[in-house]
Structure formats: structure tokens, C-alpha cells
């Protein structure tokens, strides 16, 4: 690889393929739609909290955790643009997240939470 090619490749990658993948990044209006979706999910979570019949349901906690995970995923994928970024960044974050989840779960097993 010539010096210029290396240089340009580094430049593009430094911005997380900002130039190569710029067209794939969401637009301002798409970011607005994502914000509205996040707000609606949060509103559903809070609304469910005030319905005693839902709170007593065995599905309440799993549903809340699912909605929380959904919001987490949306922010990480689109706002942190991990979906459009270099795979190494995805690997770094996902591996750490899995390790963190495993550590937390192991801790809770150790202290007999489950």
C-alpha cells in the first residue's frame, strides 16, 4: 500500500468511516423520529408503572427490561452510530458489555439473588 493510500485509509477510518459511510448516517429528521420513539417507550414504561393490574402481572418486569434493552439498543446503534461504524468499535463495546453482564449475573448468583 502506498503512503497516500495508507494515509487516506487512516483518515477515513479515524472518523469511523465518516466519509465512506456518511450517506448511511441518519439525517436530522431521522434523529428526531428516534427521539420520539425513545420518548414514547419511556412514556409506556411510566404509564405501566401506574396500572396495578400490570404491575402485579408476572410479565411486568420482563416487559420493562425488554423496553429498557430496546431503548439501550436504539441509542447505541443510532445515536452512538455503532451500526455504521468500524467493526472494531462494535467488538470493543459489545465484548465489554457481555463481560459486564456476565460479571453482574455471576455476582448475583454468588449472593443468591436468583
Amino acid at each position: 500500500m502506498s503512503h497516500d493510500a495508507k494515509h487516506n485509509a487512516t483518515h477515513d477510518a479515524a472518523h469511523g468511516t465518516a466519509h465512506a459511510g456518511e450517506s448511511h448516517h441518519p439525517t436530522g429528521n431521522q434523529y428526531l423520529k428516534i427521539a420520539i420513539i425513545l420518548t414514547i417507550i419511556t412514556a409506556i414504561e411510566v404509564w405501566a408503572y401506574y396500572i396495578p393490574a400490570l404491575v402485579e402481572s408476572p410479565l411486568f418486569n420482563p416487559a420493562l427490561i425488554f423496553m429498557s434493552a430496546l431503548k439501550f439498543g436504539i441509542v447505541v446503534l443510532y445515536y452512538m452510530h455503532i451500526k455504521f461504524d468500524h467493526p472494531l468499535f462494535r467488538l470493543l463495546f459489545t465484548a465489554s458489555l457481555i463481560l459486564a453482564l456476565c460479571t453482574g449475573t455471576a455476582l448475583m448468583f454468588l449472593f443468591k439473588v436468583f
Binding site: Y49, S68, S96, A100
Partner: protein, 238 residues
């Protein structure tokens, strides 16, 4: 070493060297990626571990407090004093919405920096025009972050007035530690944003500064996703 030397054709000894074309030219790295961006992702990975430990500790001690006040249930002490459930869901829901909106403002701040200098149509409306103002969105993000901190200060103060401190019971210890650490992260984020805003006001941020804004944005969104988890596990699940 050879590749490193070859990648600094303009004699730059720093990480980057600015050019007139409005773009940064980076050193060649073995991964082909800017080390600063790898560093922030590695840092965020380590932060996952930190918050996973804090959240797990909260969950381990959840419901094991011997004395109140309790988060979701009422309590009467030996003197007959009645304590309501201490968590204020409406206030925290509002602060959660504020933090979510701050993430929205942050992505628009980054986009504004990326688009700076590019032509805008003469027929563009106010929404298209406001999207180009990085100062507006950076200020909005910092303001919303500071508002979140205001909500947290109010919450902490009211808890102390109601008799819950970090020493009162296991809930108090784990709650204040977890949310306090998160609040400290938000405080760092607000200071970071205000620094970027100051730079933008003094010399102006442009596409060549995309990376430094992007790194701040990644940190800010991470703080947001941590709160998404805390809000559900601490406040909503009883």
C-alpha cells in the same frame, strides 16, 4: 517505526496535523483507526464494567434493608412516624425525558459540526437552518444535562430531608452510590460540553474537529444509556 515516520510527511509531531482543506491528516496506525477513538470505546467498555458492578450491588441488596425509608413501600418507625415510599417517579420520569432529549441535541451538535461550511439551500426552513448551528445544540445539550443534575440535586436533598442518607440503610448506601456515580459522570459531561462550546465560540468548530466532538458525543450517549438501565431497574421495578 518506519510507518509512523512515513505518516508524518509534514513534520507534525502531534497526533494530527491541520491542513487548509479543512480536514485533519492522521498518523498511520496499525489498525488504520484513530487511537483516540479506539481509546474512548475501550474506556466506555471499562465503564460498562463499573456500572454493571454498581447496579449488581444495588440489586443484591435490594429489599434487604432492615429500617426505612424504603423505595417502593411505606414504613412506620418505632416512634410511630409514617414514611411514604421515597422514590418520586413523576420527577424522575421528567429527568429521564430531559436526558433523552439531551442525547438528541448531542447528535444534532455533531451533525452541525460535520455539515459546517457546506452550502445550504436558500429555501431552507428554520429547522434546516437550526440544524447547522453547532453552538445552539452544544448549549442545548449542556443545558439539558445541567437540568438533569438539578433534578438529581432536588431528589437527593428531598431524600435527606425525608430521613434517607447514605448511612441510613442498605437501600440508601447502594442508591446514593449508584446514582451519585452516574451524576458525577453527567457533571464531567456537562463540563466537557461547555469546553467544546467555548472552543466553538472562540475559534469555531468545523469538520476537522469532527472527531473531538464525536468522542464527547459517545461519552454523553453512554451516560444516557446507563441512566436508561438505572431508571428501569431502580425506579420502575419494585
Amino acid at each position: 517505526m518506519a510507518s509512523h515516520a512515513a505518516a508524518a510527511p509534514h513534520g507534525s509531531t502531534g497526533a494530527t496535523a491541520g491542513h487548509d482543506d479543512g480536514h485533519e491528516h492522521h498518523h498511520y496506525t496499525t489498525t488504520g483507526l484513530d487511537n483516540r477513538k479506539i481509546a474512548i470505546w475501550a474506556f466506555l467498555g471499562s465503564e460498562c464494567m463499573l456500572f454493571a458492578s454498581l447496579i449488581s450491588t444495588y440489586l443484591i441488596y435490594k429489599g434487604k434493608s432492615l429500617v426505612g425509608p424504603f423505595p417502593h413501600t411505606e414504613w412506620v418507625n418505632e416512634a410511630g412516624k409514617h414514611f411514604e415510599p421515597i422514590l418520586d417517579i413523576p420527577v424522575t420520569s421528567a429527568s429521564t425525558a430531559v436526558l433523552l432529549m439531551s442525547s438528541f441535541a448531542m447528535v444534532l451538535a455533531l451533525q452541525a459540526v460535520q455539515l459546517k461550511g457546506k452550502p445550504i439551500a436558500a429555501t431552507a426552513g428554520w429547522w434546516e437552518r437550526i440544524q447547522r448551528s453547532s453552538q445552539f445544540w452544544l448549549a442545548a445539550t449542556a443545558f439539558l444535562g445541567a437540568t438533569f443534575l438539578g433534578f438529581q440535586a432536588y431528589e437527593f436533598t428531598s431524600f435527606v430531608h425525608e430521613g434517607l442518607t447514605i448511612k441510613t440503610n442498605l437501600f440508601g448506601s447502594t442508591f446514593f452510590t449508584l446514582t451519585g456515580f452516574h451524576g458525577a459522570h453527567v457533571t464531567v459531561g456537562v463540563l466537557w460540553l461547555m469546553t467544546l462550546l467555548w472552543i466553538d465560540r472562540t475559534r469555531g468548530l468545523g469538520p476537522k474537529d469532527e472527531l473531538i466532538v464525536d468522542i464527547c458525543a459517545l461519552y454523553w450517549h453512554f451516560v444516557d444509556v446507563v441512566w436508561i438501565v438505572i431508571f428501569t431497574l431502580v425506579y420502575l421495578i419494585s
